[in-house]
């Protein structure tokens, strides 16, 4: 009987992407071609070699060479010729995230040379990664396509005992954000469940490799490295396992000795005792059972536990302590928090009395630190063996309880102070290191919450606007990001289900850099915040106090969690928080701005026409304003005469003009293709890495990153910006500032703490922004704005417009707007590559969330084929104007509900985030200002929508209702008690419902809204200056449908470029090709075929065959080009099912949209 199992588990979880069952199956099936799929195992895919059958027969996917089955069921490796490879694993790559876990016995053959014995391979993929042992070091490395660049050694001396199995776990996570020039790989190595190495490799990532994954050997280093010993089991994941999951794997393998304190199994008898307590009708007594269980699992004395259980029998309330003070029980409000003194002090349980469940998982370790000592780095926590942690203080009062845990370790001390009031748990960690020890990182809090299983469990993550990941544990939701930045715009998270949940946040008012990790696994949700303390140059020790980190029990959803966060901001008033709303320093024009256009043209003509059509001033987000190539020669932004001319024309036309500059990087070749000032001026001011070298990023070209803690960096950028402001610009867009992750700077010459997390903002961009505002105000430019990319919250107080251009995540919620509306403005989403109603849902969502609309490329919004969208834009812009007081001065309320449930529509919003989003046909929001409540409804479909809105107004309160329909129908309802309001919305139409308390005078507001909605109703009568041409009646030869119709021989091509010599139409985007009259004969074709060429990353656009007219005609066939053809030059045939049977002679057009440039060759009917 073989007892070992090799599992190969592929979980397709990307950074925060969720496995939905709908696409899990294809993944499983795809893998079935590679590995044997074990039925009924979801979501994992397993491969087994087991039960005494011969290995090759049962596991055809493994290629075994010179291995044999060892008595224990493992595969014996002879250390000289034994090799294992996973068949067809060429397409298994580390990609975004991976965990490789294996159990090995290392026992070199007796005749092995020292050289052979010292090179044992565990995992190897040619030209991608290696994990093994070299000498006495556990060693990892990865290949980035040109070299092995990711060397990482374990921080222990590893001398394996030949008879013992060890578990090795490698986690690799690659982060790529090309827009921010960001690329890094986080690597962690665990030995028997203890982290022995972790490192971030900046600007480096493992290359893809088509070679098979090798186990127990590495054949690509010239001389093959063989493992001498046994392979006892392997598991592979396409996600990062949380530490608690890794430890579960280790604990579950009885051959491995865990390098951590193993949670005990509940002894026989105790379960029965606990079950007796849990049968109690009194919730807090039931909580007692949970407390005892968690305590035992965390290492508490199991023998004593039975005694504790018996103390609770028949009791009506919990005592304040159990076990003679071993457990301190704090029962306050709706929950019970329990801390213990022994075996190691810590939090044992947090029990929700109302939901009647344990929330706390015993695996949480509360905090850990990464300590540098000489050349080694070790991770230490309060729960490590040999570390002395005590509960040194408990003070109870009627409202709350305070407690203190104190830890003494070799490296120094840590002290956690906590306050608990029954709902909220606030804690702070203070650490001090001994001489010779530097505290490099502090992870606090670090805890695990049990899975919540009452209905759907949701995880709220602070990505962009905020995002809710549904069925988090089942889907193995994983969120990890550096704060502050767009991908981590705020500090909070929340985990909840129908019964309630826990809000958590670092609530740090300094906005310092930190890393957030929210990982789910079978244990539940693992949460960790990691701070970067920094140290003074020349000192060999340091100390650090974290912010006041909070956990709070709440009922509700993301909205209530957001309110907690907002309440704390009001209380702590960090530097970016404005008590005033709207923030006074946001100029009036900016508060009231409606539309942003990405302008990079040489002429203003189209912008003027668009402005006239909308009837409101445009704001131009101005790129290429000096003719300079994008992303070159930073940080020098010289204006040209053209800049002045366009600026003058735009301002004269009433437009607002905000040019682009970059506020982060310095191109290495900063003067065309030469180095001008990089070495002389730039280098002393660059962010310096741990290796003492300036950080180098690669994007379009190579850049260094400026450290804005240096006066030069600030002064230089300020000078460049001020020149533009002095020329008359209305503001400056500073790219990347609110988007990109901060960098730890190790340059002692900058006079900031080395590698400290508070340098980037507090000593860098914050003073820059403050200086800019002061300088411009002093020179009379009080109407000047600053805008930036993404929406990191710490800039909300000083940056007036944040460009949330990539807010395209399924499950996204307006958390950021709930908190920051009126305190800053959101200035646009990226518009391209939409499909279905995505374009309308996107714009409508901008409206209802209170964002400014746009930002549109001029060519996009002025395309003749965007007529309907332009109309919708005009309506939404005027509706935004009507709602400005609510957006700027009011507050968002919970999302309105409808009486009739309507399925969401899935549509593609663009090329960012999850690309496809689900939204209801009618999107809506609810705002409150001056006691007036407003409901905005937007029909994002091309059909009439009827439903009934739940008003959810205070009971018995009398309200007047005003209903404004974009079709011009206005309705006033006399004061009364209203519960619901039915409505009917025309296609792509808007409605606004005001609920005004009976005694409130809202006449001015009502009149303002009535005026704007009257203008909305007129929209269809406004001549569209970019309307599609109607005349496509030019005669041409009649050609049979079954022959090829070349794009180059079409009657006309609009929106594309005819390449006669290459025989195709290139640059197709919002393109219409007129093929004239086509004869379909007497039999309608079932399919069409057309040839396109486009790279895979641009796939997703839509091609429509139209009859009679490209816009107003009949759809003959359509489909999404959901896969690329490989390149611009490689044409691929795509099939189009015919939707409208057609015979005889008809005019045919092809419309190509939602693709960012493809090439079209020809089509025919099949």
């Amino acid at each position: 009987m073989f007892s070992s199992i090799i599992r190969i588990i592929e979980l397709y979880l990307f950074q925060i992407m969720i496995i939905r069952k709908s696409f899990l199956f294809p993944v499983v099936l795809m893998l079935a071609g590679i590995f044997t799929v074990s039925a009924g195992v979801m979501p994992a895919v397993q491969v087994k070699w087991h039960n005494g059958q011969s290995i090759p027969e049962n596991v055809p996917q493994l290629i075994l060479k010179n291995t044999r089955l060892a008595p224990g069921g493992a595969l014996a490796m002879n250390g000289e010729t034994s090799e294992i490879a996973v068949k067809d694993s060429g397409n298994w790559n580390v990609a975004a995230a991976a965990t490789l876990h294996g159990v090995f016995r290392i026992a070199p053959p007796e005749n092995s040379t020292p050289e052979n014995a010292g090179h044992d391979a565990f995992f190897y993929k040619h030209n991608q990664l290696f994990l093994g042992v070299i000498g006495e070091k556990i060693y990892f490395n990865f290949f980035n396509g040109s070299a092995w660049v990711g060397a990482l050694y374990g921080n222990i001396s590893f001398k394996p005992e030949p008879d013992r199995f060890y578990s090795f776990t490698l986690t690799v996570k690659v982060h790529r954000d090309i827009a921010q020039g960001e690329l890094w790989t986080d690597v962690e190595i665990y030995l028997d469940g203890a982290c022995i190495a972790q490192k971030r490799f900046d600007q480096l990532a493992p290359a893809e490799s088509s070679a098979p994954l090798e186990i127990g050997c590495a054949t690509g280093f010239g001389e093959v490295w063989h493992l001498g010993g046994e392979v006892g089991g392997v598991q592979l994941y396409r996600r990062i396992l949380a530490e608690s999951e890794i430890r579960q794997l280790v604990t579950a393998d009885d051959r491995v000795t865990p390098a951590f304190d193993v949670p005990r199994q509940l002894p026989d008898g105790l379960n029965e005792e606990l079950a007796r307590i849990e049968a109690s009708a009194i919730p807090e007594i039931r909580a007692g059972a949970s407390i005892i269980r968690n305590w035992v699992l965390a290492g508490g004395d199991a023998g004593n536990a039975v005694t504790l259980c018996r103390q609770l029998y028949g009791k009506k309330e919990l005592p304040q302590t159990l076990g003679g003070g071993t457990l301190e029980i704090f029962k306050l409000g709706d929950s019970i928090l329990t801390v213990c003194r022994r075996p190691r002090a810590g939090i044992v349980s947090w029990y929700d009395l109302r939901a009647n469940r344990e929330m706390w998982h015993y695996a949480g370790k509360l905090w850990s630190v990464k300590i540098k000592h000489g050349s080694t780095a070790t991770v230490s926590s309060a729960t490590d063996p040999g570390v002395n942690t005590q509960l040194v203080s408990v003070e109870r009062s009627t409202d709350n309880v305070t407690f203190v845990f104190s830890t003494n370790a070799v490296w120094g001390i840590g002290e956690v102070r906590g306050v608990f009031d029954g709902k909220r748990l606030e804690m702070q960690l203070h650490t001090v290191s001994e001489p010779g020890f530097i505290i490099d990182t502090v992870t606090f809090p670090a805890f695990v919450l049990q899975p919540f299983r009452q209905g759907r469990d949701d995880l709220l993550v602070p990505c962009m606007s905020g995002r809710v990941i549904e069925n988090a544990v089942e889907n193995r939701a994983s969120y990890s990001s550096d704060y502050p930045r767009g991908y981590c715009s705020m500090q909070l998270g929340a985990y909840y289900d129908a019964a309630g949940g826990v809000y958590f946040s670092s609530e740090d008012p300094t906005g310092q850099m930190k890393k957030l990790d929210f990982l789910t696994g079978s244990s539940g949700l693992s949460v960790a915040y990691t701070f970067f303390p920094g140290w003074q140059y020349g000192k060999d020790h340091n100390e650090f106090t974290t912010s006041n980190c909070a956990l709070e029990l709440f009922r509700g959803n993301w909205y209530q969690a957001g309110l907690i966060y907002r309440r704390n901001l009001e209380k702590t008033s960090p530097v970016w928080w404005s008590a005033e709303q709207p923030r006074r320093s946001i100029p009036q024009w900016m508060q009231n701005n409606l539309i942003w256009v990405r302008f990079e043209d040489r002429k203003l003509d189209d912008a003027l026409k668009l402005q006239e059509f909308i009837g409101e001033p445009l704001a131009l987000h101005w790129y290429l304003w000096n003719g300079q190539t994008f992303d070159r020669d930073y940080p020098f932004f010289p204006p040209s005469p053209f800049t002045v001319e366009i600026l003058g024309q735009a301002r004269a036309a009433g437009m607002r003009v905000v040019p682009y500059v970059n506020g982060r990087i310095w191109e290495v070749k900063d003067f065309r293709d030469e180095i001008r000032a990089t070495d002389s001026l730039g280098r002393p001011n660059f962010v310096t890495g741990e290796n003492g070298q300036p950080v180098l990023e690669r994007g379009v070209v190579s850049y260094h990153v400026l450290c804005f803690a240096t006066p030069f960096s600030r002064d230089h950028l300020l000078g460049e910006m001020t020149r533009l402001i002095d020329m008359g610009c209305d503001g400056i867009y500073i790219d990347q500032v609110a988007a990109a992750a901060g960098k730890r700077c190790y340059n002692p010459g900058h006079r900031h703490d080395i590698a400290a997390g508070d340098v980037w903002f507090r000593h860098g961009h914050l003073p820059l922004l403050q200086q800019a505002r002061a300088r411009w105000a002093a020179s009379g430019h009080r109407e000047t704005v600053i805008t930036s990319e993404d929406n990191s919250e710490i800039y909300a107080g000083h940056i007036d417009g944040l460009l949330g251009w990539r807010w395209m995540y399924d499950g996204q919620v307006p958390l950021f707007m709930l908190i920051y509306s009126g305190r800053t403005q959101l200035v646009g989403l990226d518009y391209s590559n939409e499909l279905g109603n995505g374009i309308y849902a996107k714009l409508a969502t901008q409206l209802i969330w209170g964002e400014q609309l746009g930002w549109f490329m001029m060519s996009y919004i002025t395309s003749p084929y965007q007529h309907n969208f332009r109309l919708f834009l005009r309506r939404t812009a005027l509706c935004r104007k009507a709602m400005l007081d609510f957006f700027n001065r009011g507050m968002m309320l919970e999302v309105p509900q409808f009486t009739q449930s309507v399925p969401d529509i899935r549509a593609r919003w663009g090329m960012h985030g999850t690309q496809y989003l689900h939204t209801p046909p009618v999107v809506s929001s609810r705002w409150k200002w001056n006691n007036i409540e407003s409901f905005i409804l937007a029909n994002t479909t091309e059909s009439i929508q009827k439903n009934c809105l739940k008003l959810d107004l205070p009971e018995k309160a009398r309200y007047k209702l005003y209903v404004f329909n974009g079709n011009g129908k206005f309705e006033t309802l006399e004061p009364g008690i209203y519960r619901e309001k039915s409505f009917e919305l025309d296609p792509l139409q808007l409605m606004l419902i005001l609920a005004v308390p009976e005694n409130e005078d809202a006449s001015i507001t009502v009149e303002n809204i009535r005026r704007e909605f009257a203008r909305i109703a007129e929209s269809e009568n406004i001549p569209d200056p970019f309307a599609p041409r109607m005349d496509y009646s030019a005669p041409g030869p009649v050609t049979p449908a079954g022959q090829w119709h070349d794009g180059t021989k079409a009657l006309s091509v609009e929106g594309g470029r005819v390449e006669f010599q290459r025989n195709f139409v290139s640059h197709c985007n919002e393109c219409v090709i007129d093929f004239g009259t086509i004869d379909f004969g007497e039999t309608a074709p079932a399919e069409l075929e057309a040839e396109f060429a486009l790279p895979g990353h641009l796939a997703g656009g839509k091609v429509v065959f139209m009859l009679d007219h490209p816009v107003n005609g009949t759809v003959l066939a359509e489909r999404i080009l959901d896969q690329g053809s490989g390149s611009w030059s490689n044409f691929r045939a795509y099939r189009f099912p015919v939707l409208h049977p057609v015979t005889g002679q008809r005019k045919v057009f092809i419309r190509i949209g939602g693709i960012f440039l493809c090439n079209f060759k020809r089509w025919r009917a099949l």
Partner: protein, 247 residues
């Protein structure tokens, strides 16, 4: 003794400079943009920082030259991209003389393409603008220097107007009056070099003297270009001169 003479000389120059400035320089610097605004009573224009060419040229009546783009460029006969002078964003400005009567400003830059690559050969281009009080024209001396002798074509003082032509009349001393719209069938560079040429519309005349050519753009019949051409430049240095008058 020599030191004393040097100091006196410097002082005299300084006093001369101060007095000339006080008595009315033709050149004023815009503090916000750093641009040099030049006005000699007959015309005015601006030399923008980083930019080689005069912009916002106006006659004494305030009528502005229709906005144009200067297409001064170099193309190598062996092929490759064209490099344009107005793509240089880093041209340096040097005021060589600034008296009430005479203003001499040099612009120093090079040819670039887009994206910003400088033309090969380390080409140094100097455009020296001489403005004299009482004279209604600007004398522009263009000097090119480089490190190799790669054969190339050079176009200089090459304003171009795209779209509808702003000019109603073209006058050449050789009586080759060019009627607007008479472009059918003409090819690029239809007319050879002339010594004097005037473009006129209702309110403005642009006169150019020197060896220049006038031609229409075959890709757009409504575009007019004007400029000097050195068909083949093989040496390491090149100097040309034109005067232009706006009235």
């Amino acid at each position: 003794m020599m030191k004393t003479i040097k100091i006196l000389t410097v002082m005299l120059l300084l006093i001369s400079g101060i007095s000339s400035y006080a008595s009315g320089s033709m050149c004023q610097r815009d503090q916000r943009s750093g641009a040099l605004n030049i006005d000699n009573g007959y015309f005015s224009f601006t030399l923008f920082p980083g930019h080689m060419f005069p912009v916002w040229i106006k006659n004494a009546g305030g009528t502005g030259l229709p906005p144009c783009r200067f297409l001064d460029r170099i193309t190598f006969l062996k092929g490759g991209p064209a490099y344009f002078l107005d793509m240089d964003l880093y041209a340096e400005t040097v005021i060589l003389a600034d008296t009430p009567e005479r203003l001499l400003i040099e612009k120093r830059g090079t040819y670039c393409d887009n994206p910003q690559h400088a033309a090969p050969g380390n080409i140094r281009v100097t455009y020296a603008y001489l403005i004299e009080r009482g004279k209604p024209y600007v004398t522009l001396t263009m000097t090119l220097a480089r490190d190799n002798e790669e054969p190339a074509e050079v176009r200089f003082f090459h304003p171009a107007w795209s779209g509808a032509t702003p000019w109603h009349e073209v006058i050449m001393p050789e009586d080759k009056n060019f009627a607007v719209g008479r472009g059918d069938g003409v090819t690029d560079e239809m007319y050879g070099p002339v010594q004097h040429l005037s473009l006129k519309n209702d309110s403005l005349t642009l006169q150019v003297s020197g060896v220049v050519r006038f031609f229409c753009n075959r890709f757009n019949r409504n575009s007019f270009l004007l400029g000097g051409i050195k068909d083949v430049w093989k040496s390491r240095e090149l100097t040309m001169q034109v005067t232009f008058t706006v009235k």
